[in-house]
Amino acid sequence: MAEIGKKTVLDSGWIAARSTEVGYCGVELTTTNPPSIGADSPWMEAVVPGTVLATLVKNKAIPDPFYGLENETITDIADSGRDYYTFWFFTKFQCKRLVNQYVHLNFRAINYSAEVYVNGHKTVLPKGMFRRHTLDVTDILHPEGSNLLAVTVHPPDHPGSIPPSGGQGGDHEIGKDVAAQYVEGWDWICPIRDRNTGIWDEVSISVTGPGKIIDPHLVSTFFDDYERVYLHVTTELENKSTWVTECSLNVQVTAELEGDICLV
């Protein structure tokens, strides 16, 4: 259970499956038909954070593309179509919230767009490889604390194709999206077959009270030859409750001396 102000990182227990091989929708996966790994199941252990290819390499469904000419044996998205690399990711998480507490599900980066389902509730995440997503899941958590999360992740809109001559950035189509451009290949790297599709950065759960701290900004200014220094702290604050909150806002700066001794 996450303490107030701390985050619980969800980086284990994930499973994944190719979207075209899953017969249920997100609502069913996170209510009546939660998936599991098994003999005839299309689901496999997943690497989160990571990409679709990372998960396939982990399960030996494809060879590691960075050995020898193995990358040539992996189907490129240009030949397979985007659905081939559109994947479901699924996990369960425990979270029991108390009165006056609010719970957020945070994705630090997803490439390229996604739909998120928590206990049967759907949220569409907008496109973009380099942006965070925060969902308020307070009202859709299960009271007993066990929750189901499914995410279907779509590749970039313009994955492009790789000309026989290769070249810097393939046919440059990836430049139409806001995504890493190296994935179509460059003079120093082979094309990445899934264009880095996936939940490629941290997933976490955070619990707060009604007052929430958002994106503080720390700036220091210097005077008198660095003798006189000021620390300027600005932060956004959000009130999740339906009443005006009177808050005490504290900022503290400690210098960590050698070892664990702190000087306040």
Partner: protein, 232 residues
């Protein structure tokens, strides 16, 4: 003396921005790049207590006091960097990303970044065709004293200078590009190692994107005014 408490009132389901009264430090330990001194980091923590409920949220960030300046030298046309007023000879490494399947872990970042510091480098340039690097990357650059030159997602080859010429006006959705840029700046801006934001590699972003980035990333007005003489 470095603990400050201020009262704020936040409207129901509302959002406000609050700036603390500046905290004063006398001769704090400064953060220096690799080879110029120690990478002293302070712990800045912010907590919010709600009346009748108690602690509601908290946030911490290792922070280094440093001033980084850079200008184009009229003589050579090169960019000159200064840290805490001292000119620094940049010994930099090119960085694309650590793994093509984005299997990025703290251990991996620590190893990669420490390797650059052990090679006696003091800057890493994150190429525009790769990633906006992750907080863990910056955290170890903070610890090992590697300044970071971070490019946004524009490259000459793909955006208007390649063969064939393509995307002369950059990505299709400029608002999405700027939204991602702004969110990335908020994610990374408190790291002392972050030295320079750069529009792209071998290419200037489309005019509207470049103008917006230059406006958003202009020097804070605070730096154009001398603080009043600090009351004793």
């Amino acid at each position: 003396e470095h603990l400050q408490t201020e009262k704020v009132s936040v409207p129901a389901q509302g959002r406000i921005q609050h700036t603390f009264t500046p905290l004063y430090f006398y001769k704090p330990e400064l953060w220096w790049p690799n080879g110029m001194g120690k990478q002293t980091l302070y712990n800045v923590s912010i907590t919010i207590d709600v009346k009748d409920i108690g602690e509601s949220d908290s946030w911490t960030q290792p922070f280094g006091f440093r001033k980084i300046e850079s200008d184009i030298d009229s003589g050579t046309g090169g960019r000159l960097f200064k840290v805490n007023g001292e000119p620094i000879f940049i010994r930099g490494g090119n960085w694309i990303l650590s793994d093509g399947l984005l299997r990025l872990s703290k251990e991996r970042y620590r190893t990669d970044i420490k390797f650059h510091a052990d090679m006696n480098m003091n800057m890493i340039r994150c190429w525009g065709g790769g990633l906006a690097e992750r907080p863990e990357f910056y955290h170890f650059c903070d610890i090992y004293g590697l300044l970071v030159w971070q490019e946004f997602w524009i490259t000459g080859d793909v955006d208007g200078r390649g063969v064939p010429v393509s995307n002369p006006n950059g990505p299709l959705d400029h608002d999405l590009f700027l939204l991602c840029a702004r969110d990335t700046v908020k994610l990374l801006r408190n790291h002392p190692s972050l030295a320079l934001w750069v529009g792209g590699n071998e290419q200037v972003p489309p005019k509207d994107i470049n103008a917006a980035l230059e406006h958003d990333l202009r020097l804070h007005p605070l730096f154009n005014t001398q603080m009043l003489e600090h009351s004793s």
